[in-house]
Structures are given as C-alpha cells and as structure tokens.
C-alpha cells in the first residue's frame, strides 16, 4: 500500500525507502521491505532515545549533522548480534584438524615459522566466536605450546565490542561449553553469568571496523585464518563483492576463509578458491597470480 505507515515510527513506505538507501550508503547493509517490521522497531527505539519526536526530525538530524554518535547508535540497533559459544563448531574442528596443520606446513613448520599465526573473527559480535577459537586452541590443538597465535575480533557495532571486552555471558551463550572448560576458563560473576578469565580476554585483540570500508580494512593484513560467518547474507551484491575484496586483502596468500553454512563465496566473487575439507567447504586466497 503506497504511502502506508506502520505503527510506532510513523514511517511511510517512502520514508522506509529513503532510510534504507541512506543506511546502505553508510554501511553497505541493505534492508529489503521484507525486513520492514524489524527496521521499524529498531528505528523506533532510536527515536525514543533521541530528542526528536518524529522520524522526520530524527532522520534530518542524522543526515544533516553527520552525527557519528547517532549513526553508531543506529548501526548498533540494526545489526544482529545473536550468537553463542562453539556455534557451528564443525568449522572449528576443520580449523584444528586440517587448516592449522596446513598453515603451519606452508609457513615452514613449527621450528621455522616466523611470526604468529593470525586468526580473525569478523564480525565477532559479543565475543563468543573469538573466545571459542581460543578455547578450542588451548584445549585441543597439540601445537599451541609451540607456536604463537594471535586472535583478533572485529565488528562494526561499538556496543557489542564493549560486551566482548567485558566477556560476561549468560546461560544461553554458554549452553554448549563443556562444564570442565567452564570451570577452567570462566569465573562466576553471579546471576548465572560467567566471565572469561583475564588470561584469555587479554589475548584477544578487538577492533571496530566496517568490513565494506576499504580504507579502514587496509589495517588488517596477513591473516592465516578468517571466520566471516553469517554477515555477507545481509549485503547486496556490490557490498558483498567489496567485503570479499577486503577479506582477500586481509589474508595471507593461501589463507583460509570460513563463511556461514548457508553462505557461498562462489555466488559473490571468483577471487577465492573453494576447497573441500572433510568438514565442509572453506575458501582460500590463491597463492599465485592469475
């Protein structure tokens, strides 16, 4: 229905279109009308938290002032951050059983490797993924005492990064963490919540970055393994291509890229080489030219 407005925000169809175009230009994330209800609710939350009473006033302030705080609040509202420890952990199995041994071999083996093995979790949301990687490495990779490993987490959302830094989680996030691991690497902080111990928290470096923003992604280099799961599905074709190019630039030649189980790089860009491992498909940055 043209010109229709939904309850709460008073957003008309034309407003929705203007808003989604603006948000796409700033972040690369595209919302179709199918996400209308979700977007309306989140915008409503932003308007209620602002000094403005209407969408028109709030949106005008957002655009005209180029207010980075307002935009960041909006990004925080509109990005989905639900995750949990050891999610889709068949990919962590793959990392341990095949990918890391291959990385180690390609870099000269345990005795000759120069510099740390670098692993990136992007987006890392509230931290469950990078900390899961750390736990799996510490508990299950027999080379962890012989090799340096750097783990990095990055996300566009500053609020989830703050939560990732605090690393305190409830039952839902921790449901798949084995009890012995919980006892070994977490501290109870009350109300059923557990905090990741300082030793692991301090080993994970967190960054705020937009995966579609090529200039800021240039800071990420020489990663051996990248987890980029369940984010490309939010992007349109062009933004997905940009994200793929930026991931390529962040990786070492021969490096491995894990996507979410429903995502396929082959539909986005031809620059990675799909490799079938026993646990599923992983994508590699080619080692040579052409």
């Amino acid at each position: 229905m043209a010109g229709a407005a939904t309850a709460g925000t008073g957003l008309s169809d034309a407003d929705f279109t203007r808003f989604t175009e603006y948000f796409y230009k700033r972040t690369g994330i595209h919302f179709t009308p199918a996400k209308r209800y979700f977007v309306d609710k989140r915008i409503d939350t932003c308007i209620r938290a602002s000094p403005y009473d209407t969408f028109t006033g709030w949106f005008a302030a957002l655009r005209s002032s180029d207010n980075s705080g307002m935009l960041q609040d909006l990004i925080n509202q509109l990005t989905v951050n639900e995750t949990y420890f050891l999610r889709e952990d068949y990919q962590f199995d793959s990392m341990l059983s095949t990918v890391l041994p291959n990385v180690l071999a390609a870099r000269g083996g345990v005795n000759r490797i120069v510099g740390p093995i670098k692993i990136l979790s992007l987006p890392c949301s509230t931290g469950e993924e990078p900390y899961s990687i750390a736990l799996r490495l510490l508990e299950e990779w027999d080379q962890i005492d012989h090799v340096d490993v750097e783990i990095h987490g990055a996300d566009i959302d500053s609020e989830v990064l703050a939560k990732a830094a605090h690393a305190s989680y409830g039952e839902r996030s921790l449901q798949r963490v084995p009890k012995p691991w919980l006892n070994k690497y977490f501290t109870s902080v009350g109300a059923g919540r557990y905090q990741v111990d300082e030793g692991i928290r301090s080993a994970v470096t967190l960054h705020r970055v937009n995966i579609c923003d090529t200039p800021s992604m240039r800071a990420f280099r020489e990663f051996d393994v990248v987890f980029c799961r369940n984010v490309l599905i939010y992007f349109d074709e062009l933004s997905s291509r940009r994200a793929a190019e930026n991931l390529y630039g962040a990786m070492r030649p021969g490096g491995y890229l894990f996507l979410g189980h429903s995502e396929s790089m082959s539909r986005i860009s031809p620059i990675f080489t799909p490799t079938r491992l026993p646990e599923g498909i992983v994508y590699q940055r080619p080692t040579g030219g052409k």
């Binding site: 510490l138 470096t205 090529t214």
Partner: protein, 207 residues
Amino acid sequence: MGLVRKQAPQQPEEVLPEKRSTEALREQLADPDPDCRREAALGLEGVAEAVPDLLARVAVETETNVRDAVLTTLSGYDTEQVAGSLAVHLASDDAALRTAVAEALATMPQSVPALLPDLLAAPDHDVRVMTAMVLADMTHPDTAVWLIRMISEDPHPNVVTAAIDAFLPVAGPEHASVLEGAVQRFPDDPFLRFTVQAALPRLSGTA
C-alpha cells in the same frame, strides 16, 4: 608460545598504511606488481575522475584478482556510461573476462536495463548468452520478464537454454507453457529439450 596478544599499536587506525593521493593511485594502476595494482583499484573507490583509467584497465589487466578488484570498484558507478563500457567486453574472446564482466554487470541493476534492448538484439549470440548470465544474478523486479522474452523470442537455442537456466530459480508451475513453447520452437535441440524435461517436474512439484 601459545595465545599472544598483538603488540601495540592496538587500534587499526594507528597502523593504517599511508593514504596515497588520487594521482598516485591512478599511476599505481599500471605498477608492475599486481598487489600494488589491486590496492590502487580498490583505493580508487568513489574517485569519479579515475573511472576512465579503471575502464581502460579492464581491457589490459592480465591478473584476474586485479581485474576483479577493478570491476568491483567500477560496479560502484551504476551508470549507463560505465555499464555500457563494460558490456563491450561481453563479446571478448577471453572467457574469463566475459564472465567477470557479466558478474560485475549483475551488480548494476540501475543501469543495465537501459542496455538490454541492444544486448538482447546483439548479432553475436554469445553476447546474448552472457546477457542471460547477467540477468540470472541481477536483483531487479523485471528480470523474469526479460528472461521470458528471451526464452520466447530469441532465435538461437543456446541463448534460449541459457535463459531457461537463468529463469528456473524463479519459475513456477505457471511458467511450464513458456518452457514447453521453447521446446516446440527448437524440436531438434536435444540439450534444450533435456533441460526443459528435467525442469518441468520440479516446476509442477512432482519431482
């Protein structure tokens, strides 16, 4: 050994490589090092005056990853002029270039529709096959209409088969007659007939 924290500086902003000027990036597009050319192509995102340099690079670039980076940056200019300049390569003898350009055009739904009358009437049927590939991946409300037109009207069976392949993901039971019509137009083409016969049960939900 073990988990180690990255040494300072911690913030990526602090370690960003120096930003090069537009002029330097344009020159860098011809650097002998492919990585430098690729960086330049991505660094020129949003630099309108570099579009002619990027378009020129598409034709001569030999490294596929550099060419893909050039095409990604050009895809951000969803204009008739850029799309038209890229569409020329759909007739290239270089299959990888044809495919890469088709993938890039599929991300340009604002400008590609204006090119379709010429592309659908191209005398080279391979260009029309590539056009079906573009439509297969392009997000646009009219892609089904254009593909049905190709299936119903194009005189070459390879183009019709390519259009059917592109159309099947969005086809429903109501489109069975469109596919059957294609078989009737090319009764001696076994591959086209096989494609339709394999698809019809899926369309009707009997597969």
